[in-house]
Every structure is written in C-alpha cells, then in structure tokens.
C-alpha cells in the first residue's frame, strides 16, 4: 500500500451510469491486476474503494459506477483536481495459473479489473462480458484491441447472447471450447452462478474477486471479513481475489 496525492487527468462518462477516471501519480505500489485503490472524498468520512482498471507509468485508470452520493459527487470532480488516494490495496489475480486458454468473466461494474489482467496475460484470453442491456455496454473495443476474443451477454438480449455470463459460457462449452483457468469479478449472484457452472460443473479452477462494505481497505478494522477454507480472511487485505478452492460455497 502507498498513500499519495493523485491528479485527475480524465473524468468522463462511458455509459448512463459508468464513468472512467484517469489519475496521474505514483504507481509503484501496484503489483497485480485485481488490486484496488481507496479514494478520500471531501465531505465523506470513509474512502471509496475502486478496483484498478489499468495502470502504467502515467498513472492509474479506474472505472466507477454511480451508486450513491460519493460516486455521484465523483462525476463532478474536475480535471486537474488532486485526490488523496491509497493505492495497491489487496491481493490481485495470479496470472501464472492462466494457462494457454484463460477465460475472463466480468459482470457490469466488475469488468474493469479484468482489463489489466487481460493486458498482462501471456496467452490470448476469451472474455465474457455481461450487462443488463446494450446501453450499459462498455470496453468491448478496448478488450479487443488487446487481442482478446470478446463475447457479450445481455440480460435483455439487446446485444450478443441473451442471458447471463453463464449462458454465454454454456454456449462456448457446447461449441466444444475448453479453458485452462478463469478469472472473474462481478456482483455476488453472478459470482455464485459462475462458481456453480464454471468451477463445480465445468471443472475449471479460477480466481474470483469479491466486493464488501469496507472500513479502512487495508486490513486494520476487520470490517470486511469472510470465512474461507483457510480460515477467516479480510476481503480488503487477503482478497479481494480468492481462489475457487478457498470458498465455502
């Protein structure tokens, strides 16, 4: 973890509810895709934890969804403004397990951390991106520019596969596709479905990134604990990424 002052270089809307922010500053604290940052906002006591979408020498890219007052106020932050940010929080994805045919599964606001994972992968990933409808779709081109093969699923069928990410996975499996390992992030119902279909039924091991209401974000307050096969873990510090084998589902 590193604490630093970061300058907003971009803050633009991608979809009706999703925004991208680019922060310029020290990235030396970031070690792996799947880690997150924790942003201090004026007028709010707790920081806002947001997963890292991309990081390079210029700075950090995050994609955030407007859910409450904090994220709503973030959309009004002007370029050039400085923010107090904790970076490189949590343990991210371990890409050594990717194998030749890695599968990335992202749902809605859970998609961003998969971007840096895809960019850092040696082998070409298949990426399943799930959205409620076509209005919410973002970052398909960006993933394709990385050379990834992207499959989109929308709950209302307005684009790509009609249904959830697990329906897209079923179609790929039925087409004879196999995968060496998977990486996922998204709302808990999606994670549970992925765990059931891809890990349990599909027999593919993977790494899942979890969300939880956090106090500190760096392991001090025990606010975001989770029971695992290896004992009690802190989502913010020991996670947010956990292996399918660790879960008690």
């Amino acid at each position: 973890m590193k604490q630093g002052i970061y300058t907003i270089r971009e803050n633009r809307q991608l979809t009706p509810t999703t925004w991208r922010m680019k922060l310029e500053g020290d990235v030396s604290g970031i070690r792996a895709p799947g880690q997150f940052i924790n942003i201090k906002l004026d007028g709010h006591f707790l920081r806002r934890p947001i997963s890292i979408c991309d990081a390079d020498r210029d700075g950090i890219t995050i994609i955030y969804k407007v859910l409450g007052h904090g994220t709503e106020e973030m959309t009004h932050l002007a370029e050039g403004k400085n923010l107090d940010v904790l970076t490189g929080l949590g343990n991210g994805y371990d890409l050594d397990d990717a194998g030749e045919r890695p599968l990335l599964i992202g749902g809605g606001v859970g998609i961003p951390p998969l971007y840096l994972a895809a960019r850092c992968m040696k082998s070409r990933p298949t990426v399943i991106l799930g959205f409620n409808n076509s209005d919410e779709i973002y970052y398909v081109d960006e993933f394709e520019k990385l050379g990834a093969r992207v499959v989109v699923a929308t709950a209302d069928g307005s684009c790509g596969v009609r249904g959830f990410v697990t329906d897209a996975f079923r179609e790929l499996s039925e087409a004879g596709e196999t995968f060496t390992h998977f990486y996922t992030c998204g709302p808990e119902p999606m994670l549970r479905a992925v765990y059931d279909r891809v890990y349990i039924k599909g027999g593919i091991s993977g790494q899942m990134s979890f969300e939880e209401r956090m106090g500190c974000g760096f392991g001090a307050c025990m606010g975001c604990s989770m029971k695992t096969a290896n004992g009690n873990k802190r989502v913010c510090k020991d996670g947010p990424v956990f292996r399918t084998e660790e879960l008690l589902w």
Partner: protein, 301 residues
C-alpha cells in the same frame, strides 16, 4: 522545548497518543507503514478466550463525520495471540503494549488476562484494557458496562489475576457514566478509558432494511468527539484514577482538548482507518501544537 511525556498508571510513556483497540490490529501491519515506536503505546485488538469470527457482514456503514461498525470482536483467540501475534509484534515494537481483553463472562475476562499474564509474552504487556462496553456482542459485552454492579463484578474478577495496571473501557450508552467509573474505581481499577462507541444504525433506502447485518453498530469518528469530551470531563471530576480519553480524536488539537477535559492520555480510533498514518501525524504535530497554545508539559493547567 515542550515535554510530551505522561504517566499512565506508573509507566511513563513518551507521549499521550495511543491507537485504540480495533483500529490498529496487533500493530505489526502498521509497522510496515511507519515506525510504531513513535507512539506512546497502542491497545491491541480485543482478545477473547476462543477465536471469534464476529458478526455477519456488512459490518460497516458510513455516517456524517463518522462510521458505524459491528465487527463483534473478531480475533484469533488468546492462545493464538500469544503464539502468533505477539511474537510478530515483538520484532517491531519495543515499548509496553496495552492488551485489550473481552469476554462473555467475568470468568472469561479473568482467564484471558491470566493466560496473557502467565505467557512468555507477558513482559511485552504494560497494561490490560478490559472492554466492558462492546455494543456489538450479545450476552456480555456492553451489558457489563451499562450497570455499575456488573461493571464492579468484572473488576473484582480480574483485579487479582495480574500485578499489571488494569484499565476498564467504559460505554457511553449510559445515563451516568460517572456512576460506572466510580464502581470500577471502588473495586480497584487502576484507570478507566472512555468512550467506546455510541450505539447507532443506518438504513439502506433501496432495501429499506438496516445496512448492518447486526442491525445496530457502534458509532465512532469526529461526530462523537463532543460527547466524548463531556464524559471524560465528568468522569475526571468524579474519580481519582487516571482517565484515558477517546472518541473521535483526529488531530493534535483534539488531543489537547481531551487533556484539558482531564484525560491522562488519549486513544485515537477511527482516524487510523481513514488515514493509516493518522497516529504518526498526531505524534509529530503534538509538540508544535502544544507550543502554539503555550503548553509546555502535561497535565495542562
């Protein structure tokens, strides 16, 4: 030059700044961020006889100038603390530490202290802070801290388990905190620390349900600072033993207000969770802030 030293139950500490239990883990994780030996001391995570996961999540809710937590005393249990946590801490912290203990019965409080006090790690411990005011556990916890007789029974049970000073951590969720403090003093407590969190709650407007799985939680942060000051002031007037002040302290100026209210030392809680360097900054700012207000040493007269 100003002198920041204070005496806490016969032990002189370099400054009155003490990270509060539950906001500083067992210390060694903050030692990765800065040299925690700059602190007066710190109070480690509330420790019980058995390992505890605590309450279900969500356990955290944001509030104006503060936060609610309903962690519920998650900890690895006293034996693991002796075996794992304290040896790890020993490598990075070379001052007496404050051992925060909790229990669900007077016997449990006593047994936890007994095991710590008889362990090979006992020399690390300077004080025991006995938490009789956790609002997030059912049976025991806060119920000991809201009734003078029950508070007295805990003090009685732990009083002879150790030669080290015993500090009783009090609940603000009472009509008259001085009544509880006096009961503790009468039974031989060496000091009291206050305030633990104020019981509060928040609702999720979307689900129309409480945000916390535990329904209620403990409020901490600057929001509670004025209430904490008032209770420290009242208690310091009511008892002769030292009063450790805490509750929303976030700056060196807040520390001085607490000392003016009659605190012998000051614990820093939620501030550590928002800024991991908060306690270090307060220690750094303290001399300059004392000078600014013409304070050369403690107590402030």
């Amino acid at each position: 030059m100003v002198d920041t030293k204070v005496d806490l139950c016969g032990i002189t500490i370099d400054n009155p700044v003490i990270p509060a239990s539950g906001t500083f883990g067992y210390g060694y994780e903050f030692a990765e961020l800065y040299d925690i030996n700059c602190l007066g001391t710190f109070s480690f995570k509330g420790t019980t006889l058995e390992p505890r996961f605590g309450n279900e999540t969500p356990r955290i809710a944001e509030c104006p100038a503060g936060m609610l937590n309903s962690v519920g005393l998650q900890n690895p249990g006293v034996d693991d603390v002796i075996r794992e946590e304290l040896p790890t801490l020993e490598r990075v912290f070379h001052k007496p530490v404050m051992a925060n203990v909790s229990g669900f019965s007077t016997d449990e409080y006593a047994e936890v202290i007994r095991r710590l006090d008889r362990s090979r790690m006992a020399d690390m411990i300077g004080w025991y802070e006995v938490n009789i005011s956790c609002p997030n556990v059912h049976g025991g916890g806060m119920s000991f801290g809201t009734d003078p007789k029950m508070a007295a029974s805990v003090v009685k049970a732990v009083r002879w388990t150790t030669d080290k000073p015993i500090i009783i951590k009090l609940s603000p969720n009472v009509t008259d905190i001085t009544e509880i403090a006096i009961a503790c003093e009468t039974e031989g407590a060496d000091a009291v620390s206050l305030i633990n969190t104020l019981m509060g709650m928040r609702f999720d407007l979307r689900t129309r349900k409480p945000i916390l799985a535990n329904v209620t939680g403990g409020l901490s942060g600057p929001a509670v600072f004025p209430v904490a000051l008032r209770m420290v002031y009242q208690t310091a007037k009511a008892v002769r033993i030292p009063v450790i002040g805490m509750g929303g302290v976030s700056s060196a100026e807040d520390v001085l207000e607490m000392m003016m209210a009659g605190a012998a030392a000051v614990e820093v809680g939620a501030a550590n969770l928002v800024d991991p360097y908060a306690s270090q900054k307060i220690v750094r700012d303290l001399p300059e802030t004392m000078k600014k207000f013409g304070i050369e040493a403690f107590p402030v007269v």
